[in-house]
């Protein structure tokens, strides 16, 4: 299996999708000639031409609406929003149009649209370029929400998203683009809505999404040195949410730490916590713990930024206290 970076894996998925299906389009700002600000669409314009790889003006609301229109008549646009923060000027096409068209037409009009974007803090990008907004989308019925961590999943989940007949919000992480991993060649599809156990352990379960899986895995190594074996789950998707994989792990460990990069309040960790309370109460030996970013905009200064974000020591401390106190 070839080793690729996360960005190369995504590029490979887009190339495969464009080659396999003439209805696939790639659209967005600076994605053609420039190849995308994170190089995810590099070389696609040269390979597939300007009818398939379409540079757009800086008009997120306009070109997302247009992508929806094209999708309703059989195209499969994969639209890049350069930063997730830019989705905020295009919430109407995402929330009122793409998410609801299938339902409002009772399945007579489908919107096979992928909105690729990147999010996350830790790069000193300041408050308007560092958010993790997955829950905003996950709260809207009709949108699937995927956030891969491993390069192989980035490829496989993007291919699944392109083949999906409804809108998928595909959240990449700006600090994962250079992450390397083995990536299967050719058609590689990882179904949406299936979490992955990336490390086995019996003392505590650490659940992360996107880059937070990296923190959980690093924390698990540290915990192991201290005699605690953590199981690590890469959630991979918020919608559909694979609560079952977490429940099964919890039956073994009885303890869970949820590691969420988004702000603390009303995030996915709160939802997962509530579901475990409702459905797995008897399996819980200890309260569910959340390690999240603080409820403040992300500060520019990187020491300040790091201070409000989840970190390995915070995850380790939470896991140890659960194991020691309960």
């Amino acid at each position: 299996m070839p080793e690729m970076s996360y960005a190369q894996a995504l590029n490979d998925a887009l190339g495969q999708a464009l080659a396999n299906d003439p209805k696939v389009l790639v659209m967005g700002e600076d994605i053609g000639h420039h190849g995308g600000v994170f190089a995810v669409t590099k070389g696609l314009l040269e390979r597939f031409g300007p009818k398939r790889v379409i540079d757009t003006p800086i008009s997120e609301s306009g070109f997302l609406g247009a992508a929806i229109g094209a999708a309703t008549v059989g195209y499969r646009p994969v639209v890049e929003l350069m930063w997730v923060d830019f989705a905020m000027v295009a919430m109407d096409p995402i929330v009122n149009q793409a998410a609801k068209t299938s339902y409002m037409s009772d399945g007579r009009v489908k919107v096979p649209l992928v909105i690729r974007t990147q999010q996350g803090a830790g790069r000193g990008n300041g408050a308007q370029h560092s958010q993790s907004l997955e829950t905003m989308f996950a709260q809207v019925p009709g949108l699937k929400v995927a956030a891969p961590f491993e390069p192989a999943d980035a490829k496989g989940m993007l291919m699944a998203a392109v083949e999906d007949d409804g809108p998928v919000i595909f959240l990449e992480h700006k600090l994962l683009y250079t992450r390397k991993g083995d990536v299967p060649g050719g058609r590689h599809v990882v179904p949406l809505g299936k979490a992955k156990v990336s490390r086995l352990g019996q003392d505590v379960t650490l659940v992360g999404l996107s880059r937070m899986v990296e923190l959980a895995e690093t924390a698990a190594k540290e915990l192991s040195r201290q005699g605690v074996e953590a199981e690590v789950i890469d959630l991979r998707c918020l919608v559909p949410l694979d609560i079952e994989t977490i429940r099964v792990s919890l039956q073994k460990t009885g303890r869970v730490v949820l590691v969420q990069e988004a702000h603390r309040s009303f995030g996915w960790a709160a939802e997962v916590s509530a579901r475990l309370m409702e459905d797995s109460f008897d399996d819980l030996k200890a309260p569910v713990r959340r390690i999240t970013s603080e409820d403040v905009p992300f500060p520019y200064n990187q020491r300040l930024e790091a201070s409000v974000m989840p970190s390995v020591p915070k995850v380790v401390a939470a896991a140890l206290s659960l194991c020691q106190d309960y």
Partner: protein, 317 residues
């Protein structure tokens, strides 16, 4: 364009739309509809004139006031009534409602409850037509209020840079919801906005189905032959409130009556009678026939069952 023939058909279609809207109001007053109801009474010439220039494979996007345009495009009256009544045989099996009419087989790609939201979607439908290398044309209807939305401007620019086969029909009924449009823009003619995007534009009397049709034919021809988008401002007037129950504090009864006397049906009837094409009696008979057809569609819809409650959970994705 065979004017002698098509004007009679246009009058008949305008009668159908008027009857449909009046029947809708009856349903609303009887408490049979949920939510709000926005009628296009007085704007029938725009729907019939503009849609009359299209082929069946062409597509339209519309607004929450757009059921008349959907009817003109060939959507079934009975299925639309059933949708409004929340019945299982409705265009969306009762899950969309009056503001969400989809009938892709008729080329009706959605009415929309968000002002201007249908315009970028229409641009995308036009992009698809262009990528398909088909000669399909897309027409998007929107009101005067929509020209102050960002989505309108973004879509105008996309249509211009990509030279899309798109016809933009602005129904200027003088009021953006409950506020005079003249207080919300500085131009007298909204068509002036098209200049900023180098899109050919025209201002037409939207209560005269003949001029609407002529302008639409030119715009459709331009789009179909690869010459890009056209903006048409159709000046018209909504003879009823923004929605049923609107107290209409923003205008006088006098003003409404003046426009009613100059309404699109009255004018077309008068010109057809003057030209010796129809007698007043023939007009009455046509109108009665349209009412009868629409009432039959309404009765059919009323007899249809409601959807099973389990349907509430389907087709989410």
């Amino acid at each position: 364009m065979g004017e002698q023939d098509w004007r009679v058909g246009a009058l008949s279609e305008m009668y159908r739309i008027r009857a449909f809207e009046e029947q809708s109001a009856d349903f609303y007053r009887q408490g049979l509809l949920g939510g709000s109801l926005h009628l296009g009474i007085g704007q029938e010439a725009v729907a019939v004139g503009a849609v009359g220039a299209l082929r069946s494979a062409d597509q339209v996007t519309m607004t929450y006031r757009g059921r008349g345009q959907a009817l003109a495009k060939g959507v079934s009256a009975a299925a639309m009534f059933a949708e409004m009544l929340g019945r299982s045989t409705g265009t969306s099996h009762g899950k969309g409602g009056p503001m969400h009419i989809y009938s892709p087989e008729a080329g009706a790609m959605g009415t929309n409850a968000i002002v201007a939201a249908g315009i970028p979607i229409a641009a995308g439908l036009a992009l698809a037509a262009q990528l398909d290398e088909s000669d399909r044309v897309v027409m998007t209807f929107f009101g005067d209020g929509a020209v102050n939305q960002g989505a309108f401007h973004e879509a105008m620019n996309l249509a211009a840079i990509w030279k899309l086969p798109l016809v933009l029909i602005c129904e200027n009924n003088l009021y953006s919801e409950m506020t005079p449009i003249r207080e919300m823009v500085v131009q007298d003619d909204l068509a002036d906005r098209a200049k900023a995007y180098a899109i050919p534009a025209a201002v037409v009397d939207g209560n005269d189905v003949v001029v609407v049709r002529q302008a639409a034919e030119e715009a459709v021809q331009r789009a179909r032959s690869g010459q890009g988008p056209t903006f048409l401002e159709c000046k018209t007037y909504r003879l009823v409130g923004h929605m049923l129950g609107d107290p209409e504090v923003y205008r006088t009864r006098d003003e409404v009556e003046r426009w009613a006397a100059n309404g699109p049906l009255v004018r077309l009837e008068a010109s057809l009678v003057r030209d010796g094409r129809l007698t007043a009696k023939a007009c009455e008979e046509m109108q009665a026939a349209a009412r009868e057809e629409i009432q039959a569609a309404a009765a059919q819809a009323l007899a249809e069952p409601e959807p099973d409650v389990a349907q509430a959970l389907t087709h989410v994705f």
